[in-house]
Symmetry: C2
Subunit: 985 residues, 2 copies
């Protein structure tokens, strides 16, 4: 059996053979090999660098006392950095697996999109998790930025998770059972360390001490930056990170702390990186500079041909993310068509295909060349072309010179009835190869993803590296060259194929050739293979809910290019776990298709889709082991959680910090409860269900399973509450308190749920506004925007909540905060809420003017929305139009500072008396209602019109003038508070 | 060329093949691989453990900005632990060198005594530095204690200094030039790190921050100990150590701090160790328990023989320290003789020999067996042996039963004139093998060194492990068994021999056999070979000062068993360095013999003595490279130091802390200067030389070379002062201020030197007494005892200093301290000084009573010593005896509280009047002088005698009685202050 120490030695030796230096782990605690200066600093600047090292990586948060079979506070990474990107790092990587004795053809080795970012380091990259039969064994990243600096050249970072790999290779179900050295288990060597360090990180680390350490480290890092010493400064940044992680594991980091600390570390790391770059430059780059890749030269242009042939363009990539792959299809079709339209080549149908490793366009019947053409070039008007003596004017002479023609070649033609000098130019048609090459080059160069990266190519940038191009017209290579790539006829099929690279004879045989070699290029074909394969596998026991799993199936379709569905099973004991837990693990973590019986109940099986002709039994076993480990984890937590009374779970909230100024999560839950009940009292919606649900709200955040799978907050609250004997209504309300979790998510159906949901979000907004401020720009670490949108959505969803003013409710929430919330802050919250309402209503398709008109009711969104709908309906109503015009007219005439009210005795003119009398009969509706308002006010339209015709408002007598203005102000104010009339113009 | 990373990989692979686990370096900064829990914790308790790992070891104090070719703040250790001691670890180690491609037969590989202790860890062990051609490449230790706990089983710890080894193998003169990986130099990989971390440790580390870190770490360690978690506690102890080392490198650690911190770390490490042991026991020792070695069984006893043969006992050891080797010779001869005397074996001469690896006793003509003998056993007295009827009494019956005899065997014999029953017992003589076996076993088991260790033997304990025994009588093996060793006929010769193990045919051929195989067993022969060999090598250019280097030659004699003197040279440019620098390096660090010309001036050459038939050229080159590196270091510092004005060097003293409470070394030098001048003023000894020397005193502590080689303090002060143009007298005084450096060292010859020396020691004593207290027990970290002995020696050396009271001088020193020095402390200092004087005078051979009698003058040691000599001379003088008796008589009669003085008018009796009159003529000498005193007082002898005969002191009349007692008290007090008369009895 390959021991763990042998595995480390073999990988080290393998990468050393590939030219890597071997260095030692960092001698201060780090969370990952990336933090070692051999990565973090060395990826900066132009110097080439290849290194391999082991890095015991400390994640205090992963402490489990050594009890969890798969999670350790210190796990062993083997880190490889290849700088610059050598262009075939995936193949080198697969070679390293082979060096470990892994048969990469028998196993299902996959590169699954996983982008990496370390906010604390100002670092990010694009790449993959590498899956071995569903098990994530390696992180593979093209490093794009570090310390906030763009990296050029780009480094490839490969990080192996050694314990996982060894557990898989040695078929162990607990890390402690790994054979570390000959006859010595991992548990024997590291077990006590794992237990004790877990104790330290989870229970015994002194919070105050670690806080002080954090401050001291940060200050020392800053001093060293000022002293111009990036190396020791970096060490202290790492120490900051560790101290922070310890505090975090001890539950002593609030959301605010986290954001602030990340900000500080990012700033420090950025300054360290800047200093390092400067110092290396001063030192003259002792390791040299990586030479950029030379631009490619196209192949020689082919001989002249006749007849129409197919055109194929294959853009070979490293594994694209599914979404990018899908998006590229549209791009490719459009761009190929546009490109061809810009030529005079005749062609047939354009078809496009995509797999994770290739984008293909096939164009039928592309002519061998363009027809020759005659083009008419317009010159000056004839009237201005010749002098009196018939010789060319300077205008004509210039035109002819510009066209390289002589006057005798010029003829004349009409343009819009005006006669111009024209030249007829004969243009020879281009050969297909010549014409197609720039078109295809532009298509390749123009590829862009949602997130783009650079690799070693001097020009290209895309979602993942482009590694090869096939461009054939018939039998000929189209001489495309773009960046460092020249198109040829060599394609690549499955890496595990006997002949992973193939020559393509002609465009016409391309699709067949790759199909024969296992590549299912058409996503529809793959989807079909997946669905029918999966259904076949589970028939007759169960079925796949194809419609319900459509998103997942679509994703899988773009994860493989040679789908091989496999059936796996799991112990049905795990079915005791809630459906959401089981399916979240399957879908989100493993991309497995759940299998259900005819009643829709989950069966203890799953379908995974391997890529290519793997050893099915081997891959099945591997995937089953992965799922078992994940379910074992979840079951462990689930059972432990359910053994505790709800009170005990809720009591744990006291240990979770919400933010440093806003207290614990228990404090927050208390405030939510009090606020919900207070709101209910105000609305006469108090109920026993609400009271109990308020006592429990958020208790599941104290459970281990929610700590692990935060997306299940609420879902597990309902499950645990029901298990504990709470009523269905209470359980539902506690669940609904978390809704909506995102835009488009369900809103609480019950009123207790809705009240708790509102209270939750009001508390969040009030507290954070008073402490860290409302979000500005794109940064919103506390998701305050989402909370506000939730407030609006919940309010709108329940008519019973219409009387509730959210600004009043916010004021009540503010009173409950442990910090003072100033009037200015409350006002800012109101504005923020109004802005969000405006924005979402506009996004829903309403006219901006109307939305703005109803915004005075933003504090009661359902009222505002109701008015908005009424506005739409009354817009064409002549009464309303008349009323609106009247009110607007009054607004224009009467200065803003004139109050409503007047002395009727001063009104003498009949028109003004009539208006006064009409006014007396107007009664404003109790609640904002445009229909009622229009009905009530429309009687004023006539008298007003007469008034404006007959009465001169600005009378000489000041008293009369004042009375008339006061009369109009009274009309004006009839609409006050109902709409923002200024918005309607 | 073997790169450094290849070397690490090869060593790791080699030790893995020997069953070692591979683990990772510690992920917090450590000063040595020993601190890694894989050593520090794993050597504790009974569990077996074999491990190999790389440990980048951080020594902030060794920071040199990467400029020094041989010194790095982070050097790479490769650490191996073998637990239990496998019994052949040296051979395994040599195998590892071979794995690196080192031809251990061609090179001079030596195991040179080096004991290791880490006071901060409560850990120690015995072992060696391993030298490769004079270069220390490995530390090899049998770990005896860790965390203050005895280790059982004992672990072997092997620590390779990788950079040094690679520099030697790659023939590089600067560590930066080591080829780290293929085509990549060490400097390219680590140079910037080395520079920047040096900057941090020497210049930029914030002292206050690191002090705070130290406290936080220590408190966290303590908390974790209390929580019962040795693993994280250990981590924090390591962090303490690093913070301490940073402070130390920044010059921020005073002697007091150091002692206190070491004490704290030792205590913490001890508690960590205790906890670890307890936890492993609770866990049931997951790795099992190392089985103790079984006791050996002796070989079968040989057949009966006739005639006399030689006896040889060879005790084979791992390399013994020279002093132990020498001591063992005496032991061995004595014990063999005693042992043989306890037998009846006839034998000839006993000769003993010793080399580092063997102790040999050869006894000529040992008889084949003991002669038979008759032994008379005494029974009860005849008078008590028989009853009246002639039958045996119970007493006789019991005796006979005890001897297994019957009454008829009994005869009678006289003992001291009393007749006893006796039995004559015939005892058969034993065969040589039977008789010798227990004798030899006892000799082996009884071996003890000054420092002893345990290894894997269940019984034995010695200075280094005993690995084999040869015990032959003639052709026969003497069946000796002791501990796990059974004697045989197999000896071991040089490890690099073609046949490292040999069978010895007979005792008679033993010495020849090993001689033929290169072992020069007789130290005298080796000494001769070394001296003549060395002289031959240097003839005619120079010579070795055999007498001057006697101690070194003696040491070398016991460092090799096959001396191979080699001549090496060094660049004569290094001769610019002071003689003391050159010879200190040669003798102390390298055990090289300096070579001088006929005038005694050093020549640029040296003789080193290799062990065995090495490749002379290779070994010469290696040693020359080592010396060059050491001289290059020294020259670098020497030049740098001499470039600075003396003021600049002295100014650096401000950066050296003396102790936290007593200020910097500059403060201390200032106090010494002020005190010396004040003392000189008091004695009218002020001079321009003293004034200037006082300004300079201790300035060389600010130099780099003294920092490196502290034993040269003073010596370099003189050198630098002369170089800077100071007068010879000033330079000498600054040098002498440091004298005496140890017991028996020279004392200052000049008065300015003597005054500065006194002032130095007075300042030390006063300051430390007031802050950390005077030393008690065996602990004296600040060498206060040595300082006091120096005070006494200097005072005694200069008659001109006789008037100086050291207690007064201490009081003046006390006034200069930055802390208050209480009267009680000053008194304690006086007592301490008196105790030291008493002790040293007694050790010099003076009678205790007389020493005590002069102790009232302890504050002026030269006065006390003078009196002591006078006491010896006057002891037989009848006048002095009479005076002494008279004074003693007065003391006995007069109560202590009666003061001297009386009213002469009350004296009536003639005898008392006569005494009164005689007294009036007595004048005490101005200075304590027994001769003068005796002369002056002797006239009282007669009158006193008459007084006692004639006068009844205790007269009835109280007034008369008082007058008489006063008269006698006056006589009594004549001796007061001169001697402590009570001491003389």
């Amino acid at each position: 059996m390959l021991t763990m120490q042998d595995a480390l030695a073999r990988l080290t030796a393998y990468w050393t053979e590939q030219g890597c230096l071997t260095v030692q782990p960092m001698n201060t605690e780090v969370g990952a090999g990336t933090l070692n200066p051999a990565t973090f600093l060395r990826v900066l600047g132009p110097e080439p660098w290849r290194v391999v090292y082991v890095e015991p990586s400390v994640r205090p948060d992963d402490s489990r006392y050594g009890e969890n079979p798969n999670r350790l506070q210190t796990h062993t990474q083997l880190q490889v950095v290849l700088k610059p990107d050598p262009g075939h790092s995936q193949e080198l990587y697969l070679g390293s697996l082979a060096a470990l004795g892994i048969d990469v053809a028998a196993h299902d080795v996959r590169f699954v999109e996983d982008n990496w970012a370390s906010p604390a380091l100002g670092a990010w990259g694009l790449g993959w998790e590498v899956w071995l039969d569903g098990l994530e064994i390696t992180q593979f990243t093209y490093f794009q930025q570090a310390g906030g600096r763009n990296l050029d050249p780009v480094s490839v970072e490969i990080t192996y998770g050694i314990e996982r790999i060894l557990m898989a290779l040695q078929e162990k179900t607990h890390f402690k059972d790994i054979e570390y050295g000959r006859g010595v288990s991992y548990g024997e060597v590291f077990g006590q360390n794992e237990y004790e360090m877990s104790r330290y990180y989870l229970d015994d680390a002194d919070v105050d001490t670690n806080r002080q350490l954090l401050e001291l480290y940060a200050a020392e890092a800053q001093r060293l930056i000022e002293a111009g010493l990036p190396v020791p400064a970096h060490t202290y940044v790492l120490k900051c990170s560790q101290a922070f992680n310890v505090l975090d594991a001890r539950g002593a980091v609030s959301t605010a702390d986290r954001a602030a600390e990340f900000g500080r570390m990012r700033r420090l790391a950025g300054e360290v990186a800047g200093l390092w770059v400067a110092r290396r430059e001063e030192l003259g780059h002792p390791l040299g500079s990586a030479a950029p890749q030379a631009p490619a030269r196209p192949v020689a242009r082919p001989a002249e041909r006749d007849g129409a042939r197919s055109l194929v363009l294959e853009i070979g990539t490293e594994e694209l993310p599914p979404a990018e792959c899908r998006a590229a299809l549209t791009y490719l079709e459009q761009q190929i068509k546009n490109g061809l339209d810009g030529t005079r080549l005749e062609h047939g149908e354009v078809r496009v295909f995509a797999t994770p490793r290739r984008l293909i366009a096939v164009v039928a019947d592309v002519a061998a060349g363009e027809p020759d053409a005659v083009r008419t070039v317009r010159g000056p008007k004839v009237a201005q072309a010749y002098t009196a003596d018939g010789s060319p004017t300077p205008a004509l002479a210039g035109f002819l010179r510009g066209q390289g023609a002589t006057a005798d070649a010029a003829t004349e033609a009409d343009f819009n009835g005006v006669r111009h000098v024209v030249l007829e130019k004969h243009e020879a048609g281009g050969a297909a190869a010549d014409v197609l090459a720039p078109v295809l080059a532009k298509v390749v160069a123009g590829l862009r993803g949602a997130k783009n990266m650079r690799w070693s190519d001097p020009q290209l940038s895309y979602s993942r590296p482009i590694r090869w191009l096939v461009a054939l017209w018939g039998d000929d290579i189209v001489p495309v060259a773009v960046g460092a790539l020249a198109a040829g006829r060599q394609t690549r099929v499955l890496r595990t194929s006997a002949t992973p690279r193939l020559e393509i004879a002609s465009a016409e045989t391309f699709m067949e050739t790759i199909a024969v070699n296992g590549i299912v290029a058409d996503p529809e074909d793959r989807g079909e293979l997946i669905v029918t394969g999966a259904q076949d596998l589970v028939y007759p026991d169960g079925k796949i809910d194809v419609r319900g799993e459509a998103a997942l199936i679509d994703q899988i379709t773009y994860l493989v290019e040679a789908p091989t569905p496999l059936l796996g099973t799991f112990d049905e004991a795990y079915l005791e776990l809630p459906d959401a837990v089981l399916t979240t693990v399957m879908r989100k973590h493993q991309r497995y298709l759940p299998v259900r019986d005819t009643d829709g109940a989950l069966l203890p099986m799953f379908v995974t889709v391997a890529n290519g002709p793997v050893d099915v039994e081997l891959v099945r076993q591997g995937n089953e082991a992965v799922l078992r480990a994940r379910y074992e984890d979840a079951a462990f937590f689930y059972r432990a959680d359910r053994e505790l009374p709800l009170d005990a779970l809720r009591a744990r909230l006291a240990r979770l910090t919400f933010t440093d100024k806003l207290g614990s999560m228990a404090d927050r839950a208390g405030r939510i409860a009090a606020l919900a009940i207070s709101l209910a009292d105000g609305l006469a919606l108090r109920s026993a269900t609400l009271d109990r649900a308020a006592e429990l709200v958020k208790f599941d955040l104290g459970s281990q399973l929610v700590t692990e799978m935060t997306s299940l907050a609420g879902v597990l609250a309902r499950d645990y509450a029901l298990h504990a004997g709470e009523s269905r209504a209470v359980a539902q309300a506690v669940y609904e308190a978390e809704l909506p979790r995102s835009a488009g998510d369900a809103r609480p159906a019950s009123l207790p749920g809705a009240l708790l949901s509102l209270a939750d979000r009001l508390d969040l907004v009030a507290g954070l506004a008073a402490t860290v401020g409302l979000p500005t720009g794109s940064s919103d670490p506390f998701a305050v925007r989402r909370a506000v949108l939730g407030l609006l959505a919940v309010h709108r969803a329940h008519p019973a909540l219409a009387p509730l003013s959210l600004t009043d409710a916010l004021a009540r929430a503010a009173e409950l905060q442990p910090v003072p919330v100033s009037a200015a802050t409350r006002a800012a919250c109101g504005d923020f809420l109004a802005k969000r309402l405006e924005q979402s209503l506009v996004e829903e398709g309403h006219q901006v003017e109307r939305v703005r008109a109803v915004l005075p009711h933003a504090d009661r969104p359902s009222v505002a929305v109701n008015l908005l709908h009424q506005l739409g309906e009354v817009a064409g109503n002549p009464d309303f139009v008349a009323v609106a015009e009247a009110i607007q007219r009054c607004r224009r005439i009467v200065p803003d500072d004139v109050a409503a009210g007047y002395d009727p005795a001063l009104l003498k003119e009949p028109a003004e008396v009539a208006l006064h009398e009409a006014l007396a009969g107007v009664r404003r509706p109790a609640e904002p209602d445009l229909f009622e308002f229009t009905g009530a006010v429309s009687r004023l339209a006539g008298p007003l019109s007469t008034f404006f015709d007959d009465v001169f408002v600005m009378a000489d007598d000041p008293a009369v003038r004042a009375a008339r203005l006061g009369l109009l102000a009274t009309v004006r104010d009839l609409g006050a508070g109902l709409l923002d009339w200024t918005a309607l113009r």
